[in-house]
Structures are given as C-alpha cells and as structure tokens.
Amino acid sequence: MNLPQPSPPSRGPSFYEATARQRVNRLLDAQSFAEFLPPQSAHSSPHLALLDLPGALDDGVVIGSGTLGGKPVQIIAQEGQFLGGAVGEMHGAKIVGLLQRAIRDKPLAVLFLVDSGGVRLHEANAGLIALSEIMRAVLDTRAAGIPVFALIGGMCGAFGGMGIVSRLCSAILMSEQGRLALSGPEVIETVAGVEEFDSRDRALVWRVTGGKHRYLMGDCVALVEDDVEDFRQTIITLLAQWQENPPEPHALRAEQERLTQRCQQFSGMRDGLEVWAALGVPNPQQIPLLERDALVTLRQGLSL
C-alpha cells in the first residue's frame, strides 16, 4: 500500500482547547508570567457558596503581568470551562483591578483573552454591575493611551456583556473557532423561536458569529489560526506598529453612523452566506471551507 500521506498541518497547541492558564503561559514569554491574586489566595465567589455551588479558587479568571517579545504587558484570561466564563462580582473585580493597575504601571498593552457567555446569572445585579465596571475600565485604560486587545478563540466565544466589552477594546483578534455577538444563539432561539434562529445548527451559528464572518465584516483586525503561537506572533506584529487612538466622542459617533448604515445595508438577511454575497464574495458557500490564508487573500481583494 503506497497511499499518499497528507502532511498534517504543523500547528502548536490549540487555543480553543487550552485552559486559561495554559493560554497565558504559552502566549507570554516563557517563565515571565507573574499572577496577581493567585489561586492560593482563594478569591472565589461568595454568591456561589450561598447557592450551594462549588466555586473556583480564581473565580474563573487569571490576571497578571509578563513580557511578550521582551516588552511588558498585562494580561487577563477568562476560563470558559468554569460556568461558561461568566462574569460574577469577584471575577469582574479582578478584571477591573488589573485594568486600573495597567493605568498606573503603563505596560505596552493589556491582552484580554475573552472566553465568556456574558454575565453570571447566579450573581444577578452584582454580575451586571461588574460588567458595566469592566466596560468603563477598558475605556479608561484606552484613554490613558494603553491599548487593550481582545483575543477571541475559546469555546465560549464572546457573548452578552463580554461581546460589548470586546468591541470596546482597541482591536480584536479572532480565530475561526472564535465567536462574537451580543445575544447568544440559544438566547435568540429561546426569545424569538427556532424559526428565527436554530441554535443547534452549528454551521449557521459559525456563519453568523464565527471568526471568518467577523473578519469579512471588519469586526476583527486579524484572523489567526487556532494555535496559541499564531496568536502570540500576530499580537507581537500588531503591537510593533500600533498607534492607540483613545476613544473620542466624534470617533464613536462616526462609528455609530457606520454601524447604523451597515445594519440597513444587510437588513433582512438571515445567514452569513447572504451577507458575504452582498459583500461581493464570488462563491459564498466556499467560505466555511477556506483555509485562513486563502480567506485573508480573498478579503484583501474585496473593495470594503
């Protein structure tokens, strides 16, 4: 038997499958990560204990500082496996504290590894307040001239309040596996019915919220492979040339105007396929099958 063996793609560890701690350790320079409020200091949720649920020692988020290509950065990584990466009071306080510390310490950037379905419903208003505080802190950090980059490629994507937080960041990097939206697929189906959106149709979910769609729409600056090393190299390249534009009211109004027009342009469309056709993609049904590099080339050819 002399069957030709397809050569496996030479990829490093999957970002999607890694835990928050594995992502942090592999993304930053080796041995450079110093964690703030590590698990042995046990900052777990007081609310979960009241509900008779076991908490996590880090409340589902890892924060700290380190170096990336020798440059100082600070980092936040949500653990999607713990309660869907949902934001509770302690979880949110750790993120806000890190962002406030970044304003003081002035790292080159804050890397925000988002992996969350949004607010932690167990904690109700405390979780919602935490999310609003994170939004404010992201804007404050950017106003201080420190870019905040959202890295989305985990199993929970970035939904609900964390979808908003991601879009408030300086820029978003996504893998194809990543998803970004406001209401999650199951929420839409619950509220508006399966005719509106079938959350069990995984291909549809990715065509509407996935990394490829977000990249074609210009919602993320880079589409990276599902590989921690590719996230690392992309963020190093991006940082080397980054000029942070602190959020200004006139720029935000212009962005709001652009999004309103976009909403009208694609109004009534029900699938990424229709949107891609409207963008001028010649064979929209081919998009889900394309490799990353081919998709990047295709997007460069579109007059967006």
Partner: protein
C-alpha cells in the same frame, strides 16, 4: 454541595513549588490546589463537591493516593463538579507532580 475534610498520615514530601494547581471546576472535572500544610507527617484535604453523599468514596480514593505518594506537609484544596474517581486520581497526580517539580 458537600464540604468534607480528611487527614491522612504520610511521609514528608520535598516541594519545589510554593503551590500547584491542576484542573478546572467544570462538569465531570475538578480543580486541585496543593500548598504547604501544617503537619510534616500528615496531609490535610478540604473538599467542596457538588455531588452529595460520596464521602466514603472520597475517603477511599484519597487514602489510596496518600498511601502511594509522600504527601506529608501538604494541604490539598479541591473544588469538584462531579468528577469520577479516575479523574480525581489523575488531577491529584498532576498537581502533586507539579508541586514536587515534575513536568512543566
């Protein structure tokens, strides 16, 4: 949720890290944190588990692990969401190996 505590006699261990953490609190999984404990010849284990009524199984799994590893001088904290005994033993092994300077 059950809150359990156990103590086992054990040979003193030689830690190379201040603490080690393995696993994530998610369905069928658990996190295991090993830190320095108060007794050189004993191991203290504290467990929060979502699965009620499994104290005898925890006792058996932990006693077995304590008999096979020099856990003396450690304190083990566990947050569990219904992990099976095999997963518990696996995570304990990973955390203990990191604590004593094995892999990573």
């Amino acid at each position: 949720m059950d809150q359990l505590t156990f103590q086992f006699p054990a040979q003193p261990c030689k830690p190379s890290a201040k603490a080690s953490l393995c696993g994530v609190v998610s369905s069928g999984n658990l996190e295991v944190l090993i830190t320095q404990g108060g007794q050189p010849n004993g191991c203290e284990v504290s467990i929060h588990t979502s699965a009620r009524g499994f104290a005898p199984i925890w006792q058996a799994v932990l006693a077995d692990f304590a008999a096979q590893h020099a856990l003396g001088g450690t304190a083990i904290t566990i947050n569990d969401m219904g992990a099976t005994p095999a997963v518990v033993t696996l995570r304990l092994g990973q955390a203990f190996r990191d604590y004593c300077g094995g892999a990573q």
